[in-house]
């Protein structure tokens, strides 16, 4: 008994001193205590399972791996593998990424200091030369869809391996925002980069299953930032929305982007949470301004404007859309609150059409992306009513883009996401005339629209540092495009709805990107 009591006494004394020592460290050396505690606890942290995988379902398949692609469907994937000099947080506030700091030496010289020790997926270290090469690729590559974003850059200097100096022709108020769209890759990979992504992002390209539409990514072990939770990420393209919903409802996906509106209320039955965020995307019907197209005539455009009842459109997508009256969504800088649209007036539409052609139905090609069949049918009906003979086609995004940009479509549905939060983005890409140097403006001007005054305003707004003046110019452009020239028919701005499996923590971004590194 005595020895037992003695033993307990010794244990008690030992525990007393251990607790006392721990308390002393915690009180008088809290930093040391935290370090020791974290080191101790990390031994008991559950190791992330080798098999832990995140599957994200998209409404489309990736068309291109090119870092200079600006299609939303492509960038939604690429953004997990590539990074930019600066990036936007979820509320579009600029924050450091590959560049640790930056500043304007003059109005036209923007200098970046790179983050040290950043590795590409192939193990090479990021240098200033890689940045210069990437920006030049974005500007000069034949298929670059982001060239207009960097069109103001005249030269790039790399005084040392960690400093990049960007010189612009003139002050560019949106340069930093534009650079958030320019992916950085190794200079030595420039020849193959359009096929095989190599970036600095949290995930490495593993393989692409074209048949399934699965882009498989693997966590990058040398990522400079905090290691993401999921070891594997599958970005799955499922254009068919029923199939898409089936994937997530049966556990085949963890996150579903673009939830069909009519399914939103059913999610909870499948242990799915609904997350909604306004998108910056406006979908509109665009007219072809090619001389051979009927829509080069203002009357024809106006007739169609009067023939489309926007309120009818709400029925197709339920609560997930808001009617749009201009080409950028509310919240984007340059949005004009006092824009007026043509009212629905079928008779007036017919009258206008009769002034063009009274006897023969005018054949036009109408092209919409797959999945917009209901809308397509409505448009088809309305066009028919006013004297058109529409040939409606439902195409994949890549096919649609190709047809539109080659000038083969009279009337098409187009969506543009102003992910920079500035209407100048849309104007530069879509409204500015294509001209001879497509790399600067009009890269998405599938309408072949031209207006020198608009071009002038766009150029001026690109160079004006005075925010008030810029706002005025942008709003003036919008008025011309919507009211005067009727570039197209703004239809709706959508809310993006996500279905998220319970237990997965995901917060939608206003720019619509799904960043796997931020999901846990």
């Amino acid at each position: 008994m005595h020895s037992k009591a003695h033993f307990f006494k010794i244990v008690g004394v030992f525990l007393f001193f251990v607790i006392f020592a721990i308390l002393s460290i915690q009180i008088f050396a809290p930093t040391t205590y935290e370090n020791l505690k974290n080191r101790f606890l990390s031994q008991f942290q559950p190791k992330i399972s080798q098999e832990e995988e995140l599957v994200i379902a998209f409404p489309d398949v990736i068309a291109s791996f090119d870092p200079a692609s600006y299609k939303a469907s492509d960038r939604s994937r690429l953004v997990n593998m590539y990074e930019t000099l600066v990036r936007m947080d979820s509320s579009l506030t600029l924050e450091p990424s590959l560049a640790l700091s930056w500043g304007f030496s003059t109005d036209t010289v923007l200098e970046f200091h790179l983050r040290p020790g950043v590795s590409f997926h192939d193990g090479t270290l990021l240098t200033a030369e890689d940045v210069r090469s990437s920006i030049e690729y974005a500007k000069n590559a034949p298929n670059s869809e982001v060239s207009y974003l960097v069109s103001t850059i005249s030269s790039i200097e790399t005084p040392d391996s960690s400093t990049v100096r960007i010189i612009t022709d003139f002050p560019d108020p949106l340069l930093l925002q534009k650079l958030t769209a320019i992916f950085i890759f190794p200079k030595k990979n420039i020849a193959t980069i359009s096929k095989t992504p190599v970036g600095t992002g949290a995930y490495i390209w593993k393989r692409y299953d074209k048949e399934k539409g699965d882009l498989e990514l693997q966590r990058f072990s040398d990522y400079w930032g905090s290691s993401p939770k999921f070891r594997y990420v599958v970005l799955r393209g499922i254009p068919d929305r029923e199939e898409r919903f089936s994937a997530i409802s049966t556990g085949g996906a963890d996150i579903l982007t673009a939830v069909p509106g009519y399914l939103a209320s059913s999610l909870s039955a499948y242990d799915l949470d609904l997350k909604v965020i306004p998108s910056l995307e406006v979908n509109f019907l665009a007219f072809s301004f090619r001389p051979e197209s009927i829509f080069s005539k203002k009357e024809a455009r106006e007739a169609v404007l009067h023939a489309i009842d926007r309120t009818e459109l709400l029925k197709f997508a339920g609560d997930s859309i808001e009617p749009a009256n201009q080409f950028v969504s509310r919240g984007v800088f340059g949005y004009r609150a006092d824009i007026s649209n043509r009212e629905y007036d079928l008779e007036k539409a017919k009258t206008l059409m009769r002034s063009i052609e009274s006897f023969v139905r005018i054949q036009i090609s109408v092209d919409l992306p797959m999945g917009f069949e209901a809308l397509g049918r409505y448009i088809e009906d309305q066009l028919y009513l006013i004297g058109f003979d529409p040939d409606v086609q439902y195409l994949s995004v890549s096919d649609l883009t190709e047809k539109v940009m080659s000038g083969k479509s009279d009337f098409y549905l187009f969506g543009f996401r102003s992910e920079l939060g500035d209407a100048n983005d849309f104007f530069s890409a879509v409204a500015h005339s294509r001209g001879s140097d497509i790399s600067r403006f009009g890269v998405f001007n599938g309408s072949f629209y031209q207006n020198s005054h608009v071009d002038e305003l766009i150029t001026e707004s690109s160079r004006t540092l005075d925010t008030f003046k810029r706002s005025e110019k942008l709003q003036e452009i919008m008025k011309i495009l919507v009211e005067d020239d009727m570039l197209g028919i703004p239809l709706f701005e959508s809310k993006v709805m996500y279905a998220v499996r319970r237990g997965v923590h995901f917060e939608p971004r206003v720019d619509g990107y799904v960043l796997a590194r931020d999901i846990f």
């Binding site: 607790i19 006392f20 579009l92 509310r330 340059g334 706002s471 206003v510």
Partner: protein, 526 residues
């Protein structure tokens, strides 16, 4: 149930530490909370002053024309500058709510009808010239009127001064009118205050726990230094109680414990010595008792029958061992020697000398002459005893045939003769020299005869009788002795006479302790 000093000390110290820390912590937290609350208000007020114009500018630049994203980005930046502001609202002078950061998180308000502020009090604040803040549940509003010296005076809606006790009520929000067209409302949150107080409370709890443990440890160590020594003292005291007086406690501390330990060691040593002394005394007592018994054995067991004499004897020693002695020695059929002796002092030394004298007298009694006997006895005693030890003796020889009595006095008390006829007590000649003083006292001893008639009595006594004192210190004296003897002349036996004298002495002494042996021999001629 026994609580050791250690336990009591630990409990007391712990309770004291806990009490002090609790009180201190409560006061500290309370003061810190007030201080932080005040700081939050000041920061919020300054923040509103600095940012209100900027917010309006951003509104007019971006939000008014629909640039929600840019505006939201700017507002996010502004929020980052003050973490105590939880929400911002923008209203125009008419009371239209233009922006509410808590509602308009991802998109601008899109309702067909503008949001109207229905709260009249809030509207009054928007339309006021002065910034204002609400406190408590928001019902009480105070306006901040700027003085010339740029300080603020608090007034109510009617511009009357008011008093604000910031310790009692928290500021809920601040409304800052701008340019007479807009007003910005900043909602104040105390989440950070709560977090900081929680963190502080947590830290104080840890400190309290630390303090208690430190107190426990200190109390334990401190009490250990005391109880360790006390424990030794207890152990030693238990040893002493069990009879081990060799216990010694080594305590080097220079305090009361050390003094106690020294006193204990001294006490143990004294106890050891006193116990030894007691034991010795007891042993000595036993030996004295034995010696007294031996001495009593040396005295005649009974009064011998001597023809013609009625003898009584009594000896009352002052201590266990007396210095007086007497004896009766039948020399032959006719002669009997009786003697009384008194050794100087009393106690064991005197008793020993008395015993030696007794033995010498016995050994030399072959010489019938009592004078020669005494001379021989003297010479031996002189050789065998210490210089300051001597013996007075009165030796009597009675010849029962001749009915003749002779005596020799060796410095002893003078014999008293009680004549029946005259009823007078007379002191007979004494003299001589005490035995043991000089080697040869032959020239000093004189043998005398006494004519003893029938009925006469002779009293041989030691000086213990005449030297007896009363309680008052009065001496009994020889005259009184003579008187006492004369008064009892009527008594018919030697025993009665002896008792009468002894009674008289006892009565005179009044119970006072005798200081010298009392011996009396009464010889009555029959």
């Amino acid at each position: 149930m026994i609580f050791s000093i250690k336990t009591k000390l630990i409990i007391v110290v712990t309770a004291l530490v806990l009490f002090i820390l609790t009180v201190t912590a409560s006061l500290l937290i309370s003061e810190k909370k007030m201080e932080l609350t005040h700081d939050i208000f000041l920061r919020a007020r300054s923040f509103s002053e600095l940012t209100a114009d900027d917010i309006v500018q951003e509104y007019e630049l971006f939000l008014k024309s629909g640039g929600f994203l840019y505006f939201q980005s700017r507002i996010s930046d502004i929020f980052l500058k003050n973490e105590d502001i939880s929400a911002i609202m923008i209203a125009n002078y008419r009371g239209d709510l233009l922006y509410d950061s808590s509602e308009d998180k991802t998109e601008q308000y899109r309702g067909d009808v503008s949001r109207q502020i229905s709260d009249s009090a809030f509207l009054a604040r928007i339309q006021s010239q002065y910034p204002s803040f609400s406190i408590g549940d928001g019902s009480r509003v105070m306006y901040m009127k700027r003085n010339l010296d740029q300080s603020y005076q608090l007034v109510d809606f009617a511009d009357k001064p008011v008093v604000y006790d910031e310790k009692k009520e928290l500021v809920r929000d601040i409304v800052y009118p701008v340019q007479g067209k807009y007003a910005i409302r900043y909602d104040v949150t105390y989440k950070n205050l709560d977090n900081r107080i929680s963190a502080m409370t947590e830290r104080i709890r840890l400190l309290m726990l630390f303090g208690i443990m430190a107190g426990l440890l200190t109390a334990y160590v401190f009490s250990f230094t005391i109880t360790r020594h006390l424990g030794r003292l207890v152990f030693a005291a238990q040893g002493v109680a069990a009879g081990d007086f060799k216990q010694k406690v080594v305590v080097k501390s220079r305090d009361e414990i050390g003094i106690l330990a020294d006193a204990f060691n001294s006490m143990a040593k004294d106890l050891d010595q006193s116990t030894k002394a007691r034991l010795y005394k007891a042993r000595m007592g036993k030996e004295l008792e034995l010696a007294a018994q031996i001495q009593r054995d040396l005295l005649p067991e009974r009064i011998p029958d001597i023809s013609g004499l009625d003898i009584a004897a009594g000896l009352i020693p002052a201590e266990e061992i007396g210095g007086d002695c007497f004896d009766f020695i039948h020399v032959n059929k006719e002669d009997t020697i009786l003697y009384i002796g008194d050794v100087t002092g009393h106690g064991v030394p005197s008793g020993l000398v008395g015993a030696v004298a007794n033995a010498i007298v016995y050994s030399k009694m072959g010489s019938r002459d009592i004078r020669d006997l005494l001379i021989e006895t003297n010479s031996i005693l002189k050789m065998k005893t210490r210089a300051n030890m001597f013996l007075t003796m009165l030796m009597v020889n009675w010849n029962s045939r001749k009915k003749a009595l002779t005596y020799v006095s060796a410095g002893h008390e003078r014999m008293i003769q009680l004549e029946k006829k005259t009823k007078k007590a007379v002191m007979l000649e004494g003299g001589g020299m005490a035995l043991g003083m000089l080697p040869d006292i032959s020239k000093l001893l004189v043998k005398r005869s006494v004519a003893l008639a029938s009925g006469d009595a002779l009293f041989l006594y030691s000086d213990g009788i005449p030297d007896a004192r009363s309680k008052k210190g009065e001496l009994y004296g020889r005259p009184r002795l003579l008187r006492s003897i004369e008064e009892n002349v009527h008594l018919g036996s030697a025993e009665a006479l002896k008792n009468a004298v002894l009674s008289d002495v006892k009565e005179f002494s009044e119970g006072r302790k005798i200081e010298d042996d009392i011996t009396i021999l009464v010889l009555r001629r029959g």
